[in-house]
């Protein structure tokens, strides 16, 4: 058994010894440097550029402005393309934009011999604008769109408004004796903060434009580049080397389309377009800020009778992933507690803020905070319920079929997750111990639960291809279009291949780089889909390869195919398991046979038409220093049901990363903007408070592992979920400690100061 074992990452050594090549390591010495000029107004129009001084800077090769780019509006979202017009992504930006929609919009680019010349020339470009009033508040944007819409295609600034209703809400609220609880919850805009900034370089080769880029989605980026340039897809080639993190930001075309265009402006000479940290902050994507109005009607026995949500999602200046995120959020509002009548309305709106896109768990950390905070607000009003009893009574159960999406709960270990976490943190004793505290420093415990889909079916296409090639030594080459972005995908794919083929793990050689000219199709790393969807393709391909190997062995041994199997790296007789010949001998013969050479390889597509839910819980035990407005996390534990864990070691690492991100989301991180101009104030890692190692408490992780019947190896999603339950657990712990229920994050010192002052804890 290889699946289920702790195995070191396949890329651990190459990353540690520095031989793994990232985009910047592959640069050509003669690469030109491109620098983008970003707008210094948030809303308006470029009237003209004065390039005279800029062009004089020695080393400047070419300056391209928004007046020079093709008149093509293209989409950027990392979604599989929909062949139905109605479901296609929003096409609302050009390579460079004359119509400026946020402070930092890309309006021109300088190509120069080196960085200093490019920077210097960029600073000398003079721009004349016509300015319109900017709108930074999402509700304001809907209620008061102003005379000039942000995009003319959407005159009221609403990209999409959607709604649903399960059962009859108006009827349900009439039930006598219900307790009504309302709340308004807000989550902030945060950034993915992957360690490698947005970076690419591009050149022309053999009539094609080649873009080397740190992307999660090479095949999608190829399609987007072809749309942006107005050329055929076969004329674009995307290469994805090793990459320093993505967390959803790179589930979007970022620098690639413009980079592809820029190389074509200088005769195909290599041009690099590498964003600084500052540009990556405001000029790529971020998590959507959302605001939720929730009303619940609950019976005194602790069950939901009816529940309603109105959700706003700030999409910023351009469409990107648009409505998919808040739609995901209001769907999860329904799925988590599928009890009683449920009604949801969601708006995705344009504002003059930087564009939001995909980020780890895609809208669910937002609703996760709001809903789990709301649940604790409800529990505070119920006579006989506590945090655990209420959740257990109302949460999703095995066999649930979601009425909106048809996604079915094929397995659930949520109840066991809660029990395990409760025990580990000492929940019952601490609830007792932390009652009626006074003094400056108080303790509290809190929890939050979640459910999460595994991939994007049936909302979008789920498909994946895989290729395996048998080497002469009996090892295999494994190629997938699914991407390793630090999450450990290559390692689990290798484990799966070894498992199904029944060969040693070391004999699987996975190619970590994707090259769209060579690599099988896969949509890429997002939606926690790869271990599930790509896993199915790996399994199917391994079965197919195994079959071909056995076919060949049957010819070699002159036996009936049906009597042979590949077990433990050898061809054996079915039934007795007698070893007949080693795989290596079969592979040598297949390659070099003078009478029947056969270069054994397999390639399969898995078209996935299923989905399932993973679950989990976070418990936090904290200490609040009221006068200093500081939270210290003494213990924090995530317990996950992600089905069968393919690799406990990498899974634990993945949970650590998610918890760390959840802690930053709940406690410290927030993108800040100048309220007058819309300029980002803290676009660096000093002022943007990403937690450091010393700020991070010990992260405890546990799993329960019900085998999911729909997963290729009993597995479900794990990539994104660990981030979800952390922020609400922290918020509920602060509530438990101080009696102050805070309805927005981050719970940073300034926020705590305001809340504690309002509550009279600080005078």
């Amino acid at each position: 058994m290889v699946v289920g074992k702790k195995i070191n990452r396949v890329d651990a050594v190459t990353k540690a010894d520095g031989t793994a090549k990232y985009t910047e390591d592959l640069l050509d010495d003669k690469c030109l440097v491109a620098k983008v000029l970003h707008s210094t107004i948030a809303n308006g129009k470029v009237l003209s550029f004065d390039l005279e001084e800029a062009k004089k800077v020695p080393g400047v090769v070419k300056i391209i402005t928004s007046f020079d780019v093709p008149d093509i509006q293209y989409p950027t979202a990392g979604h599989p393309w929909s062949t139905e017009k109605a479901h296609q992504d929003v096409c609302d930006r050009k390579l460079l934009n004359t119509r400026v929609r946020f402070y930092g919009d890309e309006i021109a680019a300088v190509i120069a011999d080196d960085e200093i010349a490019a920077d210097h020339a960029r600073d000398l470009i003079k721009v004349e604008y016509e300015e319109y009033p900017a709108i930074f508040d999402m509700e304001e944007s809907v209620n008061n769109p102003g005379d000039v819409p942000i995009h003319e295609e959407k005159p009221n600034n609403v990209i999409v408004k959607s709604n649903y209703e399960v059962l009859d809400y108006d009827e349900a609220v009439k039930e006598p004796g219900l307790i009504k609880v309302t709340g308004v919850y807000e989550t902030q805009k945060v950034q993915q903060c992957h360690i490698e900034n947005a970076s690419s370089f591009a050149y022309k080769e053999a009539g094609k434009v080649v873009v080397v880029s740190a992307t999660q989605i090479p095949h999608i980026v190829r399609r987007v580049c072809s749309q942006a340039l107005g050329c055929d897809m076969g004329k674009v080639r995307i290469i994805k080397p090793y990459l320093g993190g993505g967390f959803g930001n790179r589930q979007d075309a970022l620098t690639e389309p413009l980079n592809a265009f820029l190389t074509l402006q200088v005769g195909g000479r290599p041009v690099k377009l590498m964003y600084t940290r500052e540009e990556t902050f405001f000029g790529t994507r971020s998590r959507h800020a959302m605001k939720f109005y929730i009303t619940s009607y609950v019976r005194p026995n602790g069950t939901f009778a009816a529940r309603e949500i109105v959700a706003y999602s700030d999409n910023g200046a351009y469409g990107s992933h648009a409505h998919a995120l808040v739609a995901n959020a209001v769907n999860a509002f329904r799925m988590m507690y599928p009890v009683g009548a449920i009604k949801g309305v969601a708006y995705t709106v344009y504002t003059n803020n930087p564009t939001a896109g995909a980020m780890r768990a895609y809208g669910i950390p937002q609703i996760g905070f709001a809903l789990e905070a709301h649940v604790d607000d409800i529990i505070a009003k119920l006579p006989n319920d506590d945090a655990i009893s209420f959740r257990k009574k109302n949460m999703m159960q095995l066999g649930y079929v979601d009425p909106g999406t048809t996604i079915t709960c094929h397995s659930t270990g949520l109840s066991e997750c809660i029990d395990k976490g409760r025990e580990a943190i000492g929940w019952d004793e601490k609830i007792e111990k932390y009652k009626n505290q006074t003094g400056d420093v108080r303790h509290g415990v809190g929890m939050g639960i979640f459910c999460y889909k595994t991939g994007v079916y049936p909302i979008a296409l789920e498909t994946s291809a895989c290729r395996m090639i048998l080497n002469q030594d009996g090892s295999i080459q494994l190629q997938v279009g699914a991407t390793e972005i630090g999450q450990g995908a290559d390692t689990v794919f290798s484990q799966m291949a070894a498992e199904t083929l029944s060969i040693p793990f070391e004999n699987v050689h996975i190619l970590s780089q994707q090259d769209t000219d060579v690599t099988p199709y896969d949509t890429g790393a997002y939606g926690s889909r790869q271990t599930y969807v790509t896993g199915m393709a790996v399994r199917k391909t391994a079965e197919s390869l195994k079959n071909k190997i056995c076919d060949y062995a049957a010819w070699m041994l002159n036996k009936d195919r049906i009597d042979l199997d590949l077990v433990d790296n050898h061809i054996v007789r079915v039934g007795t398991n007698d070893v007949l010949i080693s795989l290596k001998e079969v592979a040598m013969e297949a390659c070099y046979s003078r009478t029947n050479s056969n270069h054994i390889a397999a390639e399969e597509t898995h078209h996935c038409s299923d989905n399932t839910y993973s679950f989990g819980v976070c418990f936090a035990d904290i200490e609040v220093d009221i006068p200093l407005c500081q939270i210290k996390v003494n213990r924090i534990i995530n317990v996950h049901d992600s089905g069968t864990i393919i690799n406990p070691q990498t899974a634990e690492g993945q949970v650590h990363g998610g918890m760390s991100m959840g802690l930053g989301y709940g406690l410290l991180e927030k993108m800040l903007f100048d309220p007058k101009t819309g300029r980002m104030l803290n676009s660096n890692l000093l002022d943007y408070k990403l937690m450091t190692a010393i700020d991070t408490p010990d992260l405890e992780v546990a799993f329960v592992e019900p085998k999911d019947p729909s997963g290729p190896y009993g597995n479900k999603s794990l990539g994104e979920p660990p981030v979800i339950p952390v922020a609400p657990a922290l918020r509920n712990a602060v509530y438990n400690a101080t009696g102050v229920a805070i309805d927005s994050i981050p719970l940073n010192p300034e926020k705590l100061f305001q809340e504690f002052t309002d509550a009279g804890l600080i005078k």
Binding site: D123, P627, L668, K689, T692, I694
Partner: protein
């Protein structure tokens, strides 16, 4: 790629002073952890620098004949923290500079750079203020001594003329003898962060340890420059130690400070911290000095 215009490389202090008088607009480059940041973000792009980094004469810590502690400006933070003289006589300073950035910054950053940079959040500044440090400033014309109290001229501005270099920081014996101090840095993160507020307190108690003989309190980020709070100090000097006294001193500190609201923190929150950090640092200093509250 850093956008420097000229880099001058002196071999001795004399050469450095000569270069500085010939190129008064050139910046002294010590560890570079402030300068390089500003070159990168364009504020100092294309500047000239005089690199004093290799001048070992400007590095190190000693006790002079009169008992003063002399810290040379190029001494890095990590060397200050681990220096036996500092550990013995000025542990509050060693602790304060250990709160700076992360290990790499503490290895490259210098105490001279920290105070010459002139920002209110500099982590060594409030402790040096609280210990009445005296600066030694040199030029081709000679050396002048300046109380650190008179060095700050406003945010990012210090009393250094175009031809001058900081060559020493002294803490007189009278200032540290029988004196116990505490620095509290309040920042949103516990590393790699600038202070939302810094508070450095030191006390000398009476022989019976029942009263405060002398208290000195200095803040960073409580105003445009690092500052002392004379009203609070005056109120504390010579008083019997009680919890009420501590509260009164902290309240009095509020009358001396001028924090402002910025997007990093509100004035009100800073006022809360000014009071609270004062109390806590004061209590710790008194305990270190052998007093009880």
């Amino acid at each position: 790629m850093y956008d420097f215009n000229n880099i001058y490389q002196p071999k001795t202090i004399e050469e450095a002073l000569k270069m500085k008088s010939e190129h008064p607009e050139a910046l002294i480059l010590a560890g570079g952890s402030d300068i390089l940041i500003q070159v990168r973000d364009g504020k100092l792009a294309g500047c000239d620098v005089i690199n004093i980094q290799p001048l070992n004469e400007l590095r190190g810590i000693c006790v002079e004949d009169n008992g003063s502690i002399l810290i040379r400006p190029l001494t890095s933070f990590s060397h200050i923290t681990k220096n036996p003289i500092i550990e013995k006589f000025l542990p509050a300073l060693g602790f304060a500079v250990d709160q700076i950035g992360g290990p790499q910054i503490r290895n490259i950053g210098t105490i001279g750079g920290n105070i010459c940079n002139g920002v209110t959040s500099a982590d060594s500044a409030s402790t040096l203020k609280a210990y009445d440090a005296v600066l030694e400033i040199a030029s081709v014309d000679g050396i002048r001594l300046l109380p650190y109290a008179d060095f700050s001229k406003g945010p990012g501005k210090v009393d250094l003329k175009g031809n001058e270099i900081l060559t020493g920081i002294r803490v007189p014996k009278e200032s540290y003898e029988n004196t116990y101090g505490e620095y509290m840095k309040y920042s949103v993160r516990r590393a790699m962060d600038i202070a939302t507020l810094g508070c450095s307190v030191n006390v000398r108690l009476t022989d019976d340890k029942k009263s405060i003989d002398r208290v000195r309190i200095a803040y960073g980020v409580a105003g445009p420059t690092p500052m002392r709070v004379p009203t609070a100090e005056k109120l504390g000097n010579g008083k019997v130690i009680t919890e009420q006294l501590i509260t009164d001193i902290a309240e009095a500190a509020l009358t001396d400070v001028k924090p402002r609201t910025s997007w990093r923190a509100s004035k009100e929150f800073r006022m809360q911290l000014i009071k609270e950090l004062c109390k806590r640092s004061l209590r710790t200093s008194i305990k270190k000095a052998g007093g009880t509250i």
